[in-house]
Subunit: 376 residues, 2 copies
């Protein structure tokens, strides 16, 4: 096995890789490694993936997810523009509601998969994954002459995740936060700053996301939550690879890209029959649906020794040894006693129970079985 040093070379953070409002605290809390996401650092783990995961499932964590940048669309044409870029029916989104909405281009390719927050009738935030959505939306708005402004506001999300999130946030903000339904948000205030707080977050353990709107108030906000969190055994954390694969939270860039379409990735469940005709992807999606997607994103239980996420493309083979796809994400789950993978495979070998194998670069292939659903 490679040494940790080899697996994690040093990361040089220049001004180009923008500082987050919480960065000093993340470093103080001992983040051992980072990734870069939307030109911002994001911690990858603190103690180990496994230790972080175990803690997340039992206690409460505070995550600097500033890298989930916001793209604000505001103005008379805000709804029309937002409806153009996603097949999801955004007209049904209430003010105060979040919607997971894949952005799809005119060829049916996935541009990003943000959470859309409707702040006002004509004002949205797209809380984005790692691709240049702001320029995409701004380019379309310019090209079509929409009466909107599109920009990246000074907003940095801070996630509070884990089963004790409600207790902690109720203590800080009031009992009413327990009543925020899933994917709804309210206005609140703490540590001299006002913000939206949503019941959401990129984990399977529940919690909240606070959308800090004043960079300079970041450390104060973190400290306030940190201090109150001591009695709940709070720790600094970050999106956890094991947790997100178990729960089927897809990572744009890893599990899907512009080359992917929503049907391949199972994202059509978010629009399906209510796909609105106004979207730019409408014709392309109809054509893809008519011919049927040629590949599918599936869960694979991979047998054998614990595996770590590979750097190289990791081929998936059928029983005849033919290449039928590749792994896009991989982590070992102690809870489920297996290596859990997300993989793109040919549609004809994507059925539940299908036996495949994965070439992890070792001397023998690892047997793998397709699962019809994630490990929830």
């Amino acid at each position: 096995m490679e040494s940790r040093k080899k697996r994690h070379p040093g990361l040089v953070l220049s001004r180009r890789l923008r500082q987050t409002p919480f960065e000093s605290r993340v470093i103080e809390q001992g983040a051992k490694a980072f990734t870069i996401y939307n030109q911002m650092p994001l911690a990858s783990y603190f103690r180990s993936l496994k230790e972080d995961y175990d803690h997340l499932c039992e206690h409460v964590q505070i995550w600097d997810v500033s890298c989930e940048r916001q793209v604000e669309i505001v103005g008379p044409d805000a709804l029309a523009l937002t409806e153009l870029i996603t097949p999801r029916d955004i007209s049904r989104c209430d003010i105060g509601q979040c919607m997971y909405a894949p952005l799809v281009d005119e060829n049916g390719g996935i541009v990003n998969d943000p959470i859309i927050l409707r702040l006002e009738q004509d004002r949205f935030w797209l809380s984005i994954a790692d691709s240049g959505v702001m320029l995409w939306v701004k380019g379309i708005a310019y090209g079509r002459g929409f009466d909107v402004e599109v920009f990246e506001p000074d907003v940095s999300p801070l996630a509070i995740q884990g089963p004790r999130s409600d207790d902690l946030m109720a203590e800080l903000l009031g009992e009413h936060v327990r009543d925020i339904p899933f994917f709804r948000f309210i206005r609140s205030r703490l540590a001299e700053t006002s913000f939206y707080i949503a019941r959401s977050g990129w984990s399977g353990q529940g919690g909240f996301e606070i959308y800090l709107e004043e960079f300079s108030k970041g450390e104060g906000l973190w400290d306030c939550i940190w201090d109150a969190g001591q009695k709940y055994s709070i720790r600094a954390g970050c999106p956890n690879l094991i947790d997100r694969i178990e729960k089927g939270l897809l990572s744009y860039g890893s599990d899907m890209r512009l080359e992917s379409n929503p049907y391949e990735c199972g994202l059509d469940r978010f629009f399906g029959e209510t796909k609105q005709a106004e979207c730019m992807s409408s014709d392309a999606l109809a054509a893809i649906w008519a011919r049927g997607p040629s590949t599918r994103l599936v869960c694979l239980a991979v047998e054998g020794e614990p595996l770590t996420s590979p750097r190289n493309t990791c081929p998936v083979l059928d029983e005849a040894g033919r290449r039928r796809g590749y792994v896009t994400s991989l982590a070992h789950s102690t809870r489920f006693g297996a290596n859990l993978a997300i993989a793109t495979v040919d549609a004809e070998v994507s059925a539940d129970g299908q036996t495949l194998s994965v070439d992890t670069g070792g001397p023998v292939l690892s047997r793998a079985v397709v699962k019809s659903s994630f490990w929830k």
Copy 2:
């Protein structure tokens, strides 16, 4: 001084941060740290900034700059679209020519500063800095209904830089490569792959960039150049912070952003009076020019002990102690016996010889003097 470990936390490379065709060789050659650029790893240094710099100025280096992604614009409206997105007069660009062309939005903000290569009459590559240009251009093309295709081709630049570049490449490709003029490119072939090779590169030491079009041929191409380079003392390298600041090579994201305009950054020298009226930024640039830019990007010679590039914003003060700007890039140059900085300062304190000071976070301010030109 912080320890190296603290300055360079680990970097986790997932599938989202795309592999380059030369990555195995860069790791073999001992890159000590990386940055992420357009969702791809880019080495930051191999031995030290200073050692890498000294070698680059005397010998020849091979750089994996795959992260300079290409945005291809092809089709009947390719020239019209390219002229829309930059104030530079692209109609003057010959086939086989490169042009440095800031991309400027409808408000006069800098979107990116690519090198544009004209491959055919109606076919361009934008060799981009670190921002989502592909989606920007694709969004405008969609919005305006241009008859073009916009996509990221499988192209990975490999730079050969340093004073012995000509000798090495002449040996491999033929004596005619010595005659390639600056910012011109030709078609060539090596290691079973054909490519464009340009006299260009992000250093002040001269050299070439090879645009590899077949990912799978990357290691073979690297090895072929590596072997021939032994007698020229070739080393693996990467864009060098000291060299690029000395030469005034601006880094998008560090020295300029969407909030910057070309006049502030001195980029108007690339279009000036020949600014073409067809560009989307035409009106905004005229308005900015009429009122005069309020800030200027300047070179600062900063006195005192050798400094390293700061993570935090590093304020620039005037003699009365008022904040007048901030450092955007900083490195120590042994050759010039000074800390060389690039800084954004108020226009009224931007004249050559102006005395300022820089707050580097230490107990005393460092005296700094504005220089009218870079250290070439």
